[in-house]
Chain length 335, copies 2
């Protein structure tokens, strides 16, 4: 959650003018996104009623060369009826614009994109019926992305986990938990030998936490924040979503009803193959390790005063251990 850059009203108004969406009426920096700054923008609109958008300034971790993939993927999925915000192109048709950073005008320009605002709220405590709807939406997204023409390597895949672990260092991991370095080394070795190779590939969201799903009641109104989207094993996206949704916030306890509903919802639209189902325990271990490591890296490297809440890496270590327990493999077997 962050707004890294202060944008004055004058600069915002000039920027919004390039998109042909009416005059700027309101702009509120919003506490979403750890790699970018976001504003909820209201304009006069173009047909007499106001319009709302999310303006995103890309700050960290995002390669400019990846923006066309992310932003045109939104257009592709929205055009297919997925609840995904469209990218608002500027008057020249561009997906994003470059603007000077008001904090360091002589420094490099920053990329900004204007994206449709979608209603809905992010759940803290999803019900099975809501998890079912999320599973459906994830499967719909996978099907809708099948003919998306672009591809992008997963920059947070198996190879990156080893680099993240190295960057944390044994001392850094030990500072978080005395056993963490050993757990990470063991898991990396096991996952490297067990990672599935022959499952279907596709465009995946790769970060579909409750934060990134907007809902109204039991309806999914938005899948957002596609900035980890990439081409990878489709079933890995199911594993990520499972790890993100099926453990109750406070105690991180496995919620079987939510788990079953999420998988049923997914299978109702895109049935997982027997090979995908069989691979889910190892994919879910990988997903849990991925978030444990990225959280550990952020924990160790977050600068003092950064406007982010540090997230506990151990919450995902506990999920990893849950998935690694053979007694729990049955949760992924289709009923």
């Amino acid at each position: 959650m962050a707004v890294y850059t202060q944008l004055g009203a004058e600069q915002l108004a000039e920027l919004i003018g390039h998109f042909g969406v009416g005059e700027l009426v309101s702009a509120k920096g919003i506490a979403e996104g750890v790699s970018n700054s976001n504003w909820l923008i209201e304009t006069t609109g173009t047909n007499g009623t106001g319009a709302r958008f999310i303006l995103t300034m890309y700050e960290y971790r995002i390669e400019l060369g990846d923006l066309p993939f992310f932003l045109s993927l939104l257009d592709h999925l929205a055009a297919k009826g997925c609840p995904v915000p469209r990218t608002i192109h500027d008057l020249s048709g561009a997906l994003y614009r470059m603007i000077a950073d008001p904090g360091s005008p002589a420094g490099p320009a920053k990329a900004v994109a204007l994206i449709e605002f979608l209603p809905g709220v992010s759940l803290g405590d999803p019900s099975p019926a809501q998890a079912f709807a999320v599973g459906r939406s994830l499967a719909q997204m996978h099907l809708a992305a099948a003919d998306f023409p672009a591809a992008r390597a997963n920059g947070m895949g198996l190879a990156e986990w080893q680099r993240l672990a190295d960057a944390c260092g044994a001392d850094g991991l030990a500072a978080i938990d005395p056993g963490l370095a050993g757990i990470v080394a063991d898991e990396l070795a096991q996952l490297a030998s067990q990672w599935p190779q022959d499952l279907p590939l596709g465009v995946i969201h790769a970060d579909l936490f409750p934060d990134n799903v907007l809902m109204l009641g039991e309806q999914v109104t938005g899948l957002i924040d596609f900035y980890f989207a990439c081409t990878d094993l489709i079933a890995y996206d199911v594993a990520v979503t499972h790890a993100a949704w099926c453990f109750d916030g406070a105690g991180n306890l496995f919620n079987a009803a939510v788990s079953n509903a999420l998988l049923e919802g997914y299978n109702s639209i895109r049935p997982l193959s027997p090979a995908e189902c069989a691979a889910l325990p190892v994919l879910a271990r990988g997903a849990a390790l991925r978030f444990a490591l990225s959280r550990a890296f952020d924990w160790i490297n977050t600068p003092v005063g950064a406007l982010v809440i540090k997230k506990d890496p151990m919450a995902f270590v506990r999920r990893l251990q849950f998935y690694a327990d053979p007694a729990n493999a049955a949760i992924f077997i289709a009923p």
Copy 2:
């Protein structure tokens, strides 16, 4: 800028239900307010069109006993036509509600209020015409508040500055700037002997920075964030607003055109008396010292990882020195 508390969608929806403003449609944590958490809330509204509100959770520095003053002041000023957001009362008529903190359910409940959303954006670089409008709005507010029946002592007045300086300590001030402790001690002594006693009192905003003014073009659409509002010398509010508006962001250079326009706008609605004009240099020194000290205190005491941007105390020390220079006293003489 902060969202200190995570509120789940379920808790937000339940809370919003108590206000009779329709069903929750969207909630975005916004990066405004250093003493509270804020969400931009959208509901279905009650007449077929959506409605928007700011939900504020009071986190720090605000005494519960002061909330009726702040929140009924908004109602009073809005009813008089000032561009101030109304407080939305709950269905029982209460100005605010108490809710459990989801982060520590066993801990004390927190107060939350729902406030009208107003359009407009905060300026980074106000023009003279915009400063004129702000001066007018400030004077209108002072006149409209004249029959507000409640009073509140200024918790950030002269006596508090000494306490703030003591709390910073000479070492703390020296860590910010080697000369700061001496400047503060000198100013405190001078202001204590020179502070005016016989000027008109009234309800003042006491923190009318550009952040707290919403504008569309040259029109003021909102005066917001009244959480320092109190009963004090009315001319002191003019001094605070002057210190906040009349120095250009980057170099903190005095902007004479903005200063003249701000004062002209104010005088066009509520002409400052000769005694008030004569007191403005010392009042402005006090205002500059107040923000230098509160920033210094925050600079020294902001916990690691807090979600706030630390503001440079020295920007207000430079303004203090500007105001203290007798050569600059003429800026406050009515043309």
